[in-house]
């Protein structure tokens, strides 16, 4: 487990979390490159199906930002 690198799918609301992730870039913050972002128009649209699909497809974690 020492070299374990989790694969994380992140669903991010266009109006807040996605904008915040953009701002993290503008501010040159650093974070691990394990996240694969998916833009959604509202976190309310992230159905349990999305989260289950992500795990089924091999994700180690799912982040919903909204």
């Amino acid at each position: 487990m020492e070299n374990f690198e989790p694969k994380i799918v992140a669903f991010m609301c266009n109006w807040c979390a996605y904008g915040a992730a953009d701002l993290a870039g503008v501010s040159r913050f650093k974070y691990p490159p394990n996240i694969r972002p998916i833009r959604v128009m509202c976190s309310a649209t992230v159905s349990p199906h999305y989260i289950l699909r992500a795990f089924q497809s091999g994700a180690d974690g799912v982040l919903v930002g909204g």
């Binding site: 992730a21 701002l23 974070y31 490159p33 972002p37 959604v40 128009m41 199906h49 497809s57």
Partner: protein, 903 residues
Amino acid sequence: MDKCIACGVCVEKCPKKVDDDYNAGLIKRKAISVPYSQAVPLKYAIDPEQCLYFTKGKCGKCAKRCPADAINYEDKEKEITLEVGSVILAPGFKSFDPSKFDTYGYAKLPNVVTALEFERILSATGPFMGHLVRPSDKKEPKKIAWLQCVGSRDMNRCDNAYCSSVCCMYAIKQTVIALEHSNEPLECTIFYMDMRTHGKDFDKYYENAKKGGVRFIRSRVHTVTPIHGSDDLVVRYASEDGTMNEEEFDMFVLSTGFEIDQSVVDLSARLGVELDKYHFTQTDSFNPVSTSVPGIYASGAFTGPKDIPQSVMESSAAACAATQKLAPARNTLTHEVVVAEERDVSTEAPKVGVFVCNCGINIGGVVNVPEVAEYVKTLPHVTYVGENLFSCSQDTQDKMTEIIKEEGLNRVVVAACTPRTHEELFQETLINAGLNKYLFEMANIRNQDSWVHSDNPEAATQKAKDMVRMAVAKAVLLSPLEQEELPVTQSALVVGGGIAGMTAALALAEQGYPVDLVEKSEAFGGNALKLRKALKGEDIGDYVKELANRLEADNRITVHPNSTIANVDGFIGNFKTELNQGGSKKFVEHGVAIIATGAKEYKPTEYLYGEHDAVTTHLGLDALLINNDPKVEKAENVVFIQCVGSRDEERPYCSKVCCTHTVKSALEIKRRNPDANVYVLYRDIRTYGKREDLYRDAREAGIIFFSYTPEEKPVVTADGDRVEIDFKDSILGRKVSVKADLLCLATAIESNKDQELAQLFKVPLDGDGWLLEAHQKLRPVEFATDGVFLCGMAHYPKPIEESIAQAQAAASRALTVLSIDKIKVSGIVSHIIPELCSGCYGCINVCPYGAISYNAEIKVAEVNPALCKGCGACAAACPSEAPILKGFDNHQLYAQIKSALSA
């Protein structure tokens, strides 16, 4: 400026460090900088007073290193002449500089900061990245004190006798956020004179802060002095009973007030705009955004100290007033855009073109762009891959248009920066190339990749490949979307014929639109019919008559007295409303609605109200004053009790107008009857803004103010024609008794709690029954339901000048709908597949915009695209996946998810 790609290389290379004024000088910035990280547009600018090239004629490093050739030293200040019909002044305020007060030691003591400096300390983009530390030793403070009214309500040490209106609330907010940010146990104390939390929901916030442990001490602070051998500080203050106290703190925040900058005073002089003695604009209560010069309007802190909601309202009001006279010229200078014909791609197999951007070295310096481009060529359906140095530059845009046409591309992916800033630009490119703009997808390999993983180019390159692959997977499944166009009925319905409703109706009519004005009673004027004088002594009765005459004279306005709303059908641009006028039905078609149904005076059940003739309320006293009732002239003792029915458990809000009303009436009583003794029993005197002058006048006129607490309320008993009022004087600490000929109860303003009307218009009420706006600060006159607006006391208690400004603001926002003949709806809306819908109401219940309705005929739910905001909550709620959020449908999302993990 057009060339700047905001990469920040110039800042890296600039050798000159200067104080960062955005961060209140707490840290340094470079001579070239962006003012703050969220700046729009995100473009770097040179400070010519600091830049070595401008001051010493050498350096030029930024120009040498800029990858976009965006540095232009010749881009200097220019004078531009514009021909305009009206002008709006919104120059804002300057925070009071407390350096001149040696009592607080601001100039010498690093741990005494202004509220603005503290705001930056708390901010994630501030000098300490939101970590709460004090400036001197970067230690986390354990005890912080706020000192209120620094540079406000002060005639001795500065000339700012007015109240700055916002400092009480921002100080409480800062205590709450400081407590949240602090890792250590933190003690917050506010030293104040009167806690002025008069805005909507502000008192609840104040009470919650108290519950959260914030200490509030009513006191004027004497001095702040350093403790020898430490960075800590000690404060000396007098408590209410007059004793002097001392207490140690780690840090002090000075709640500094508002001032108008000298440059604004000079500008006003050049324009001939008259200012008052504090340098705010001279406005009358009935024209709150007008200045002394016709055609020049003002808004925001320039007209008087105010908070954000009020500033936003006033700015919309100024926009309304400024366009009133110019209405006939509307749309006379607009151009039609000629659009290329859209290619039908429905029968074509997907041909995806991918453009990978280097963004100078912003992406290319970290991500191996050629490697990404090579990889993308292996992806299914990709028929073209190109690399751009700067995808957003005009020449690249033109080139991309040509490539799309030549290669016959029918889906486009740009791997570059963020869709939040650049999607629209690239969609424009698609339109120019004859493609539907929704056949486009972005991969954010700059903001969310190269910029955050610059320390790991290999992983960043891998992430870029994954992100482009995900974008391609979605792009393949994109289909063209249509943007529906809906016609607009260019007329308005205004509900409520008080001052707010009449003002809104007149504003819209004078802008050229027909208005139907509905009033439930016989007469127009509402509460204003019972009021005497406005803030600056203007006669309210005369003004109401003038408004009523103007209503009558305007043939664009149809008035409906004695009418109520029976039913509302439709949506933005297309409402059909049924009125009930004395039992008979009437139908009105309208594009927008403004709700201005007002509020009412609370009738108290305490202090012998209704039982004794000497006890009255504000409206009762106004009637006595209007009718020159001898009761007033003959009275020996007059007492006012504040907060009757306000700020209690049943009505946990401040009614905002009563303190000012009391001092105004008390002054009038003193004017008519100088021998009368007038006493005011209060909890906090909330004569915010310039109203503070009236409070000072009242004290100077000999009106005596006693504070009381809700735990020890005054007691009223009958004593013949008089009433006896017993209360405790907190300064003497003794019981006092007054026999009053007249007792005026400053009673609360209550909501009409018109649940039925709110439901008809699909708009919410808050817990106190006030109409709940879409956003308290940013959208103060709108609802989440499009096309419906609000103003006046139905929103929250407020004085006439604020009701008028809000009414003009509501009219202004309504005009944004009325002035167009068709509404173009976004393509990203939900659509419910009727065959999959079982009519379970799941989506209808979750839709926050009331955009879904149940079609009883075919027993399925249907989306009205005009109301849909594309949030997709319905799609997630549906058990049968019947709703499709176009542009973000389940198949597209599933493809993206699968692709994210298929590397």
